[in-house]
Amino acid sequence: MTVKSPTLAPAPHCHSMFTVSRTMLAVMVCLSPATLFGLYQFGWPAILLFTVTIVSAFTFEILCLALARRPILPFATDGSALLTGWLVAMTLPPWAPWWVGFLGGGIAIVLGKHVFGGLGQNLFNPAMAARAMLLVAVPVQLTMWVDPLPLGSSGAPDFVASLAITFGAATAFDAMSSASVLGTIQSGLDAGRGVSEILAQTPPIETLFLGNVAGSLGETNAALLLGGGICLVLLRIIPAVVPLAVLGSVAGLAALTHLIAPDHFVPPQVHLASGALMLCAFFIATDYVTSPITWVGKLISGLIIGTLIFVIRTWGAFPEGVAFAVLLANACTPLIDAYVRPRIFGRTRSGRPLDLEGAE
């Protein structure tokens, strides 16, 4: 009897169903309700910008792989570039000109990822690096918000008009410009008005939570992001500890400060109703590559992100601080990983074998 070609390969001889591209696919599926909502809400210009960003990210990925002489097919189809472009697009103002999306995708893939050595090697979250760079480099385009104009509603630009908004000189855009809720709050506080007075002018919390407000392309609907995120936790793709740490620290600090000085600090529910925070807690802070590898490390990193978000939102120059908070926490990851390690079986935390008496 002969076997066709029994291969000698090292044990284990079976493998879990879990693969990189399946993980990426699951994340994309969980991200899609919020994305579809954003695309519907902001109409054709948003769809065009989303497409441009993703195509840009994918093109730069292939280019970088070719430059690095890596096998293009298996690497480009793992879904990571697609997801990165997707996340960049989620954070952009929906009616931003095409080159913002193009640059965003490019920065994320080239400077955020491949300069460090490609998949798994980057220190910083590529999408957040791109967003932060854009915010500093082209602050005007990155802070121009529009009120929701759902597809098909009166006043929503049709496909041709949208081409002009995204790819041409955007005259219509200026007329539509609006302010994000967090922006309104910050400028109000800066002007010395009280919190209750400002909140009277902003949409109610429910509207904020359900996303019917001006904001980034995919960040307005906190409810759908939360739902998608919970799915990821249930699928065991992300650990629950990270979103809990991020949301918990923001909410805790907000509650504390609001309790002390209710007229100077917004209540925690305003923070939690922000889609950017939800996106960060479930989809950005949980990024495998840039977060610590241990449970405790992830907890620490989540707490850092949440605290920094609160600090930047409250005292910083920007109304929204997710990108900077994530980047700063990413920079701590190697340090956290070096110090926070699991205890090895049969050894103390310092690495000495356990005492026999102490074994019980």
Binding site: M1, P6, A9, H15, Y288, I293
Partner: protein
């Protein structure tokens, strides 16, 4: 790991928590309903002289010898070694070398026997009544019978039974977790031979002088659990059955001990130092046969399974039966086999050569299809941390691998490389299909090699220095001897000169004739 108060409130019989582990597809249903069948005697048996950890046995037969069933053919050499017996009667065709049941397929000392088909017993060992004999006699009998750990580690069982002399023992743990997927041989053995296994447990417990015997079975074997629970109750106060959760690697000795007793074995220590000895269920069965009936270890139950096998089964085969014969017995292949494995799919050895024999530690012969092995192209690590969560030892496999790939073996050793138990959970779970455990095994081998090289260098240096010192001592001695002789010569000369002078003086004083007569006398 202490049981917290909350755990006690929730469920007083709860097991102690373990860290990590994975849940591979069990696939036990393929063979779990096939009763153990006895395979006909094959036309050729190849019995390796080393089927255990330790020194290989020394052959005591030569070519063309006629051997009887149970006759000693290889004698244990040294304290950590095991006897090897003829599994059936027949003629010794060769005492030489044959391919090992190992991926390398390198030739190892092997006795080839052509069975005569009569299966005639030779003189058996004496039958013992465990109630009447001392524990030393029991372990001597187990040593005579060539019994080794049958879960796969193949450590000589008699050595473990003798631990009583060195340590204060109180618990015997019988490992019937069988956490490897596919394998059902222990499951079937417990179902069909519960009585014998329980007797073996009682014998071992009395030999060890322990006050309690626990048998641990994973929760996915309900039939074995209900059968054994009944039998263990017959051991009275001492015996207890513990159902452990189905999770790989529950059968890892130190982890099982922790799950059962909450005691964490210190690194580099033995469980015996905490008073606990672990034996496999199949070993208990072999001990029963050896002590009650004087039968040496001649056969074992092997699970033949995998989607490529036409008729998955549990087969009692003679030690030394070629894998090809076993596959034939099970109807051969139903589908193309991508990989052939001896043992379980998580830690088993892949083989190429179908003529290699089954040995005392072989618990499975698996023929896996391409779909089952699911081996993917290895991709870069995305730091997902699955391996960190899966590692039952608390290592950070991704970091270990990064260090090893960078050639930093000392760094890898510092972060726990040598604590790795090679269970393969990290490789199993890795979404990028990185061969982590292979990398660790490589690094361990490399470190061992470096260690032995260093040792050799030091030894060479020591010998060279010793030689230098010896030579220096010799030349010094020579020099001294020479100087001494020189001095003696000089003294002699001086004396001679002095005597001559004295003689001349006396000649002057005496007549010459007298001197001559003195010289003659």
């Amino acid at each position: 790991m202490r049981r917290s108060l909350l755990d006690l409130l929730r469920d007083p019989a709860r097991l102690f928590a373990l860290r990590g582990g994975v849940h591979p597809l069990g696939q036990k249903f393929l063979a779990s309903n096939s009763p153990i069948e006895r395979m006909p005697i094959p036309t050729l048996l190849r019995v390796p002289l080393q089927q255990h950890i330790g020194a290989p046995a020394e052959p005591v037969v030569v070519r063309d010898d006629l051997v009887l069933k149970g006759q000693l053919v290889g004698r244990a050499r040294g304290p950590i070694s095991a006897n090897v017996h003829a599994p059936t009667s027949g003629r010794v065709l060769a005492v030489g070398h044959f391919a090992a049941p190992h991926p390398s397929g390198l030739p190892v000392p092997t006795i080839t026997i052509r069975p005569d088909g009569e299966d005639r017993w030779g003189p058996r060992l004496s039958r013992l009544h465990p109630e009447d004999v001392s524990s030393d006699e029991i372990s001597a009998q187990v040593r005579e019978a060539g019994i080794v750990g049958m879960g796969g580690a193949t450590f000589p069982s008699a050595v473990k039974l003798g631990l009583r002399e060195k340590y204060d023992l109180d618990t015997l743990v019988i490992n019937a977790a069988e956490c490897e997927p596919y394998l059902t041989c222990d499951d079937r053995l417990l179902q069909e031979h519960a009585e014998e296994v329980t007797d073996g447990i009682a014998i071992m417990a009395s030999a060890l002088g322990v006050r309690r015997a626990l048998i641990a079975i994973e929760s996915n074997k309900p039939k074995a659990i209900s059968t054994m629970r009944h039998k263990m109750a017959q051991l009275g106060e001492m015996g207890r059955l513990v159902v452990v959760p189905t999770r790989y690697p529950m059968g890892s000795e130190k982890h099982l001990v922790q799950a059962l007793t909450g005691k964490e074995t210190p690194a580099r220590a033995l469980t015996a130092e905490m008073g606990i000895v672990v034996h496999n269920a199949a070993t208990a069965y072999a001990v029963h046969l050896a002590v009650r009936y004087g039968e040496p270890l001649l056969s074992r139950v092997v699970t033949v399974s995998g989607r490529a096998i036409k008729r998955p089964a549990n087969v009692r085969v003679l030690i030394g039966t070629p894998v090809a014969d076993i596959l034939d017995h099970c109807g051969g292949f139903a589908r193309p086999a991508k990989r052939l494995v001896l043992g379980g799919p998580m830690m088993g050895q892949p083989i190429e050569n179908l003529r290699v024999p089954v040995v005392k530690g072989t618990n499975g012969v698996l023929a896996l299809t391409a779909a089952e092995t699911a081996s993917d192209l290895s991709m870069p690590c995305i730091r997902c941390g699955s391996c960190v969560q899966a590692c039952p030892v608390g290592l950070t496999p991704l970091e270990l691998n990064a260090r090893i790939q960078a050639g930093d073996l000392e760094g890898a050793e510092k972060v726990g490389l040598l604590d790795c138990i090679a269970c393969g959970s990290c490789s199993f779970i890795c979404p990028a299909s990185i061969p982590l455990v292979q990398s660790f095994n490589y690094a361990k081998g490399k470190l061992a090699q470096r260690q032995s090289e260093k040792h050799r260098q030091e030894e060479t240096k020591r010998l060279a220095e010793a030689r230098k010192a010896r030579e220096a001592a010799i030349s010094k001695a020579k020099r001294e001897a020479m100087a001494k002789r020189k001095a003696e010569m000089a003294a002699k000369k001086k004396r001679a000169a002095a005597e001559k002078a004295a003689a001349e003086q006396s000649v002057e004083a005496r007549p010459p004739g007298k001197v001559d007569s003195e010289a003659v006398s």
